[in-house]
């Protein structure tokens, strides 16, 4: 089991406040690592550092052993790190299929001149991107929406659309920021089934508040509190960790009870 994503000692401060303090974790290939913790614990900030949106004050990020710290988001994406956003970032004016085709950007090789003149390579490229995008839509159960304009779709569908777009990029690392937030029970279950089928070659890092889903899906769980790691371990260990219960799970205790039954 090789480690794809290694995060070492990441810290960041905003105006003197330490938002994330010395966080390290490994995400192995084919596994799901969940990051949980109360609001404001620094989960999304951590994602934003790993994906290059924020520059950490200290720390390094490695992908398959290569130091990728400080690279801009698009360079990281081209290296195979894909993410979704807590507040949706879809392309609302485009069709679902076109949205997902953008996920193929890192594999597309035609030059600007070829694109302008519509040389045969462009048609082949379009066809290949389209086929990959359609298969990502198939895998996320969105095939029937392929030709709908994304802007008019429901929240749950758009959440899945973001995941489809990320899958289409065939990432090595997939960061999912609250994929089930705001989704109803049925949608949440669909997303859970989908994520389970995804893991394979990808290492998935998941931020999620739905404890049932986290406990069922994760290989490892990392608990953040006030920017620091409070605990880490297998779902069972986290569930019974008294510190975690006091800081966070207290409010979710019932859900966790349900989940363990």
């Amino acid at each position: 089991m090789s480690t794809v994503l290694e995060v070492r000692n990441l810290s960041i401060t905003f105006g003197g406040v330490v938002a994330v303090d010395d966080v390290s974790f490994d995400a192995p290939r084919g596994e799901i690592l969940s990051i949980i913790g109360p609001n404001g614990a620094g989960k999304t900030t951590l994602f934003n550092m790993v994906s290059g949106l924020y520059k950490p004050r200290t720390g390094t990020v490695l992908m398959d052993g290569e130091n990728v710290s400080g690279l801009s988001p698009f360079k990281l994406a081209r290296k195979g790190l894909s993410r979704t956003f807590q507040n949706l970032q879809v392309f609302p004016q485009q069709t679902v299929l076109d949205n997902v085709m953008v996920g193929r950007a890192r594999w597309e090789t035609t030059s600007l001149v070829q694109d302008l003149l519509h040389l045969p390579a462009v048609a082949r490229q379009n066809q290949a991107s389209r086929a990959h995008a359609l298969s990502a839509l198939e895998r996320t159960g969105l095939a029937s929406h392929a030709h709908t304009i994304a802007g008019g779709l429901s929240y749950g569908v758009l959440k899945r659309l973001e995941i489809a777009r990320a899958i289409a990029s065939e990432p090595r690392v997939l960061l999912l920021d609250e994929p089930a937030a705001g989704c109803n029970a049925v949608e949440t279950e669909e997303i859970e089934t989908m994520l389970r089928g995804l893991a394979g070659d990808v290492s998935i890092v998941l931020i999620e508040h739905d404890m049932k889903m986290v406990m069922r899906l994760s290989h490892q769980v990392l608990v953040l509190n006030q920017g620091r790691i409070l605990a880490r371990g297998k779902p069972d260990e986290i569930r019974s960790n008294p510190e975690v219960i006091a800081a966070y799970l207290g409010t979710h205790a019932k859900e966790v009870e349900d989940a363990s039954n």
């Binding site: 970032q89 035609t110 302008l116």
Partner: protein, 316 residues
Amino acid sequence: MNGKSELYVSSRAIGLLALLIIILPIFANSNYVIRIAALVWIMGLAAVGLHILMGLAGQISLGHAGFFGIGAYASAVLPARYGVPVPLAIFAGIAASSLVAYLVGKPILRLKGHYLAIATLGFSLLVGLAITSEVSLTGGPDGMDVERLSLGGFVIEAPMIWYWISGILLIGGTAIAVVLRDSPTGRALRAILDSEIAAASMGVDVARRKLQAFVIASVYAAVAGSALALMNGFITPDVAGFMVSVEFVAMVVIGGTATPFGALIGAALLTTLPQLLASFSDYQDIVVGLIIMLSMIFLRQGIVPALGQLFRRKSR
């Protein structure tokens, strides 16, 4: 609604455009009408270029006329002052325009919205200022004569010939804009239009793609500017003026930013209206201004998308 049928509709529209260009001279062959039609094709070409920047990539430029002026004055100044052959001067104008676009675009395309609009406006004011003040080269505010384009001893001067040249340029330019939309570059640009963060997080090099769109738009403008200078045989600094930049933006927006045909309709309206209203010259600007306002109030997405919706509703 899917990508394929959109490309299909667009290629049909290009066919229609070609048909219009071919049959128009049969019905209206006065030099006056032909000259105005050629002017529409030329302004349309520049507007289609701006559509690539505004409609695909979502970046506004109030400096499009700056590149229009660079193309026009390169074709005028180089042959007249340095004896450069006209065809070579045209290519020098295109090269200069794209080089300037690259150098100017690199720093200012980091800006967004209003800031980008003001920065591009500043650029076009500089071009206008340079043209007006370099009197020994450009003739200053009075303008200058432009040497005619001649190929193999044949001087290209007749409006009818310029009608065909500009018509072919327009068809080619529109076809390029149409196919660009459905290419990796086009998808990257449209992604930038909708969400720069999402585009970058999918591996789109946002800065480089915006710069490409800016340079492509500047090439369209330079080609159109050259054509205008060579057709008219005379050029004034107005071509690079602020009002022309505003007109280009208005053409793209009125017609509908989403499609190059919107830019064409906008160009046709804003080029022919002043001619039609010439006899009411006192009120001409008011009428044109009113039409811009009304179309923005009632057809906010632009004329072409509004018509498209109307037809779709009817055909149901």
